[in-house]
């Protein structure tokens, strides 16, 4: 259950990027998440909603962009998606793979709304 500390890191990063000169509410946060990032999306969403109360992120949705595990096969040269539990090239079955994507965990961008009447 490290999703709580990951959710906290996301909130910390977002707050650092909010404009200081105006009051805003964060409507959504986009996160890219690799298939091998070792994070359970449901628990991350739950933790995110649990800790955002009372912050400018209250009520914001966490939009998760799932990044598949992809690799370059050093045997047949193919770049493609890999089943994490098989870890073999889906074309030739080769196991000498260079991972191309699947470990990402990155805050991409946020949608914010200016709070009316508050300056």
């Amino acid at each position: 259950m490290h999703e709580l500390s990951i959710a906290q890191s996301i909130v910390d990063i977002v707050i650092q990027h909010l404009p200081k000169e105006e009051s805003v509410t964060v409507r959504s946060v986009r996160l890219s998440l690799g298939a091998m990032a070792g994070v359970v999306p449901d628990s991350l969403e739950f933790c995110f909603s649990a800790i955002t109360g009372g912050t400018p992120l209250e009520g914001a949705t966490l939009e998760i962009e799932h990044i598949p595990l992809t690799a370059h096969c050093n045997d047949c040269g193919r770049d493609g998606e890999i089943e994490p539990t098989l870890f073999a090239c889906s074309a030739c079955g080769g196991t000498s793979l260079t991972v191309l994507s699947g470990r990402e965990m990155q805050v991409r961008d946020i949608d914010v709304e200016e709070n009316e009447g508050v300056r």
Partner: protein, 219 residues
């Protein structure tokens, strides 16, 4: 409504502290390993056999991570090596800042090998770089032979696999050949050792490897 671009890694703070830890240890010529496994695979027993074998041959320090209690640190205390206990109080893994603080309590000038025993967990610790030179994953025969396929990230991110409790092979439903093949499928570059902390089998080979790696890093 407006969009603010951020593009920052969620764990960048941890990664930055891990880089600082790595620089600190490299400066002192310390070879650091991060030992990970599920709970009960035998990390602490392996550590005890390793410390026995290396006594008088290599200056070792230990960082012990546990969710609660300092039982493991007590087991290590009798080997007369510098040991720092980190109690995560519920946290399921060690993070770089905890190791950073622990390093402040060790006189690094005489240490050649640092063994960090992570919290027993095959999922979360794979995300957190502590600044180690490599991860060592311990899988015991009592856990069955399919662990590498169930927890590919951990086996992929480790450099060494220790298959522990090989003395129990006659009694458990585990094929060591299958376990080895599954692990090498996830990570073909894994260095594999087979050990029993009860009989001592395989401990000399593992310790010889540690001695060689530590000597190699000293240059």
């Amino acid at each position: 409504m407006s969009v603010i671009t951020i593009e920052r890694k969620v764990l960048e703070k941890n990664d930055e502290l891990a880089r600082q830890n790595r620089t600190l240890m490299e400066r002192h010529g310390i070879f650091a390993i991060n030992v990970v496994s599920s709970p009960g695979a035998g990390k602490t027993s392996l550590l005890e056999r390793t410390l026995e074998r290396l006594a008088g041959r290599l200056a070792v320090a230990v960082i012990e991570g546990d969710v609660q209690t300092d039982f493991d640190a007590q087991r290590i205390a009798k080997y007369n090596v510098p040991a720092v206990q980190i109690v995560t109080a519920g946290g399921c893994h060690l993070e770089a800042n905890l190791v950073h603080d622990a390093l402040g309590n060790i006189d690094l000038s005489h240490i050649r090998l640092l063994i960090i025993e992570n919290v027993g967990n095959l999922v979360c610790p794979s995300n957190y770089d502590l600044g180690e030179a490599m991860k060592v994953v311990v899988a015991s025969t009592t856990e069955g032979d399919d662990k590498p396929l169930k927890y590919p990230a951990m086996f992929r991110n480790s450099s060494v696999l220790i298959i522990n409790k090989i003395d129990l092979l006659p009694y458990v439903n585990c094929s060591i050949e299958t376990l080895r093949a599954n692990a090498l499928r996830i990570n073909p570059s894994l260095e594999v050792f087979e050990t029993s902390c009860t009989t001592g089998a395989g401990i000399p080979a593992w310790c010889d490897w540690l001695l060689a790696r530590t000597a190699a890093g000293k240059t």
